[in-house]
Symmetry: C2
């Protein structure tokens, strides 16, 4: 009976924390979308808005960690329950990192807006960001519904994002070689592509948390972690 009571109290606490995870996820999804939009539109005001918005994301992570710590201290959850609480802390850390990358894209947008535009390829970046935004949305859905199949699917999709990145890496090299005046802008665009690729890794790591929660197994070794440009010289080299 007392166990019963503790159990349900734990569930209420956890639901509260998960609600904040979802709220954080929503803010991060829009940070990705608006960050990419500010880049394509060279919209410095929108970029500034994305940068300011990161404060709310960081505050939510702080809140989630404090609440999770309180639940652990109060309810002393064991086994599965403890794994659940630890997973929300890991997921909020992933969301915070993705938010940081979105902020970084907004920062570079401000810099790029002051430079002569490179022959338009920001559309490819926006497509890549859109793909990552969907991966994140699905990762959070998979978390809420404890859907390991959807989570595995996301881990697969990270490969596509890595391929988009690799293609852009080569494209930027070409632009730079064609016209040295493109070099500085391409360095920034390239960083943005890399940031988006890293966002995909963090969305994937949320999906891996889901697989771990549902199956108890870690899919880490299955995961295509990095881009291939660091292991194989790109065609252009």
């Amino acid at each position: 009976m007392s166990d019963q009571h503790i159990q349900s109290a734990f569930d209420r606490d956890l639901e509260q924390i998960q609600a904040n995870i979802m709220k954080m996820g929503g803010l991060v999804e829009s940070a990705i979308r608006l960050g990419a939009q500010s880049l394509v539109a060279r919209d410095e005001e929108l970029a500034e808005e994305v940068r300011r918005g990161d404060l709310a994301i960081d505050a939510l992570e702080e809140q989630i960690n404090e609440d999770a710590a309180r639940v652990i201290a109060l309810r002393a959850p064991t086994a599965i329950d403890l794994r659940l609480v630890l997973s929300v802390m890991k997921i909020s850390a992933n969301l915070e990192r993705i938010g940081d990358y979105a902020k970084n894209i907004a920062k570079r947008t401000t810099v790029l807006a002051q430079m002569r535009p490179v022959e338009d390829n920001t559309v490819a970046l926006k497509r890549m960001a859109r793909e990552v935004e969907l991966m994140l949305k699905d990762a959070l859905d998979a978390y809420v519904h404890r859907d390991a199949d959807l989570a595995e699917d996301i881990i697969e999709r990270d490969r596509d994002v890595d391929q988009m990145y690799n293609a852009l890496f080569r494209e930027y090299l070409t632009f730079m070689m064609e016209d040295p005046r493109n070099i500085t802008a391409c360095m920034h665009l390239h960083f943005i592509a890399k940031n988006i690729e890293r966002m995909g890794d963090h969305a994937t790591s949320i999906a891996e948390q889901v697989v771990y929660l549902v199956t108890g197994a870690r899919p880490d070794e299955l995961r295509p972690k990095a881009d291939s440009t660091s292991t194989a010289p790109p065609a252009a080299s």
Copy 2:
């Protein structure tokens, strides 16, 4: 009396975990050093060794997280004690990320070894890596001795690392503009510089954990988090 017993049992558990943190720290420090060395010496074998070594680092993080979770479940620590356990989890996550960056440097070393060397500037990268290695060593010392002053000092030193990165960023832009045949190699060297700068951020975040543990205050806002190239166009642009 029973409190006494639980308390000391908790201390024993925590000491065990902290021993693994130190072991992990030692492996990561040498990964930074050997990764930089392999780059300067264009030593592919050494680079391969650094890449293999990352497995042991990841395994230790896994171990630390499991042990920390077990301690939380068994001892239900509250307040300060809980903060301590959560901090070891955060610190091991920082160490794992630094190890990943070292592995990434080793990967790019393998790629660069197959390219025509750029007018030597890997020495500057090695100096930067050395600085970060010392920051990490001091951060772990500050953790063991709960030395908030040393930790604050490390947070300051991260500014120097950011400046070294900014200088390299401009240098690589210049190399690329001077000779397009340098572009691909400089892109990789540039990524390596960025990875080292990020390592410094993670060493700093360990130092911030120490300040938090000792003072209860978060120095986040004091911290120079990113490089300035994403906010201000470099001189070369």
